[in-house]
Amino acid sequence: MSEVLCAENITQRFGGLDALKNVTMHVNEGEIIGVIGPNGAGKTTLFNCITGMYCPTEGKVSMLGTDITGWKPYEITAHGFARTFQNIRLFPKMTVLDNVMVGMHVQTKLSAREWFLPGKAKIAMDTAIGRAEELLKLFGLYENRFEMATSLPYGDQRKVEIVRALAIQPKLLLLDEPAAGMNGAETEELGKLVHDLRNMGNTILLIEHDMRFVMNICDRLYVLNDGALIADGTPEEIRTNPIVIEAYLGKDE
């Protein structure tokens, strides 16, 4: 089992504020890992550090052994990390299918030699369209593929974002609150989908607020509070961890 993501001692400072303090985590191939924590704990900041949106002040991020600290987001994506956004960022003037097709950007890259072969670009694009449609079918969005992405209901928009990220064929899929704004049934359906994705060989790192969702589908959890990692382990361990209960779950009980 190889280590897809390894983040060591990540610290991110904004001015005088430490958004992340010395966070270390790793994700192995085929795992579903959850990152949880109260609002403002630094979960999205962690995602931004991993995907290159921010360059961590200190620490090192590596992907399958390659040091990717300080890389640009597009380089990191091209190398194998794909993400979704907490506040959905679909391309508003495109249809669902075209949104996914943008995700195919990395996959449809032609080598220098292929560039000069006539028809090669068309074949690449057509295959990509076929693949995009397959993915949309999987998520039950095939019928909607010619609708404008932002005209879909909220839950479906989140799914389109996931499909778009999957189109990159990432080595690690980072989902930022995939179930936010979904109702109970939709969340359950999403849980199943995430499971299926893993069975198809995807590795997934996700941020989520919905405790039941996380506890059901994740293999391991990392708990952030106030920018620092306070616990990690299986859902069972986290559930009974007194520090976590105090910092986070304590509010419910």
Binding site: T44, N48, M53, F85, Q86
Partner: protein, 292 residues
Amino acid sequence: MLVQQIVNGFTIGSVYALVAIGFTMVFGVLELTNFSNSSLYMFGAYITFLFYTATGIHFFLAFGISIVLTGLLGYGIDRFALRQLRKKKAPKLSGLITTLGMSMVVDNAIMVFFGTDSKSFENFLDFGKIYIGSAVVTWTQIIILIAACILMITLSVITYRMKIGKAMGAIAQNQDAAKLMGIDTDKIISLTFIISGFLACIAGTMVAMYYRSIDTAMGSSIGIKIFAAAVLGGVGVLPGAVVGGLVLGIVETIVSAYISTGYRDAISFSILILVLLVMPNGLFGKKAINKV
């Protein structure tokens, strides 16, 4: 010699600053690049000219009428075009194109009415000149400077100290939220346009007196400079517009005095591009934070 150039630069710069303030106020509130601002500037000068020559009333009365009318024109542009666009939640670009169209209408209406030849304009601020060392400073220049300073200070007080200014800030942040807070957004926005009309008219008339002539190209020639001044200082920031205007004026006069008159605009604009390269938000602009 240098002192002389700086004085001249200050004078023309303060005029740029005045118009740029109006421009930047509208921008600050609406995030709208108002192309019609330079037309208001020309309109103001021509209306003053019209009332003074046609009716023979006292010059300052004509000036006053012109200020009111230019303010009204500014109001009209907002009321009859831009407000409708806001109601439709039209994209920002259509607002910009609308002001461009308005500017064409106003400019060409003036051209049709007055003809394209330049007209001589009497200088009513000609109270002689004084000598500071080797530099000659006319009273016109001093009065323009003083008037510009008074207006800038008044406007800064209004925007940064008074309730109306707070309302403008609120609208700039979020129009809908401002409306919910009980701010009459349309009224405040109209007021902004009226003020920018006032300023443009005052600046236009003062420049007309300074150069003792007006022509129909005066609007288009100042249009880019106002925009450049506002951007140089950081769009939406009043002191930025003032500094931007002054810097532009001084750079222009110094370049044309010591380097080349022909390349004046090219050099001063290149400086603008260089500044933007180093400071993408202008001298005083706030950094826009792109939240993920």
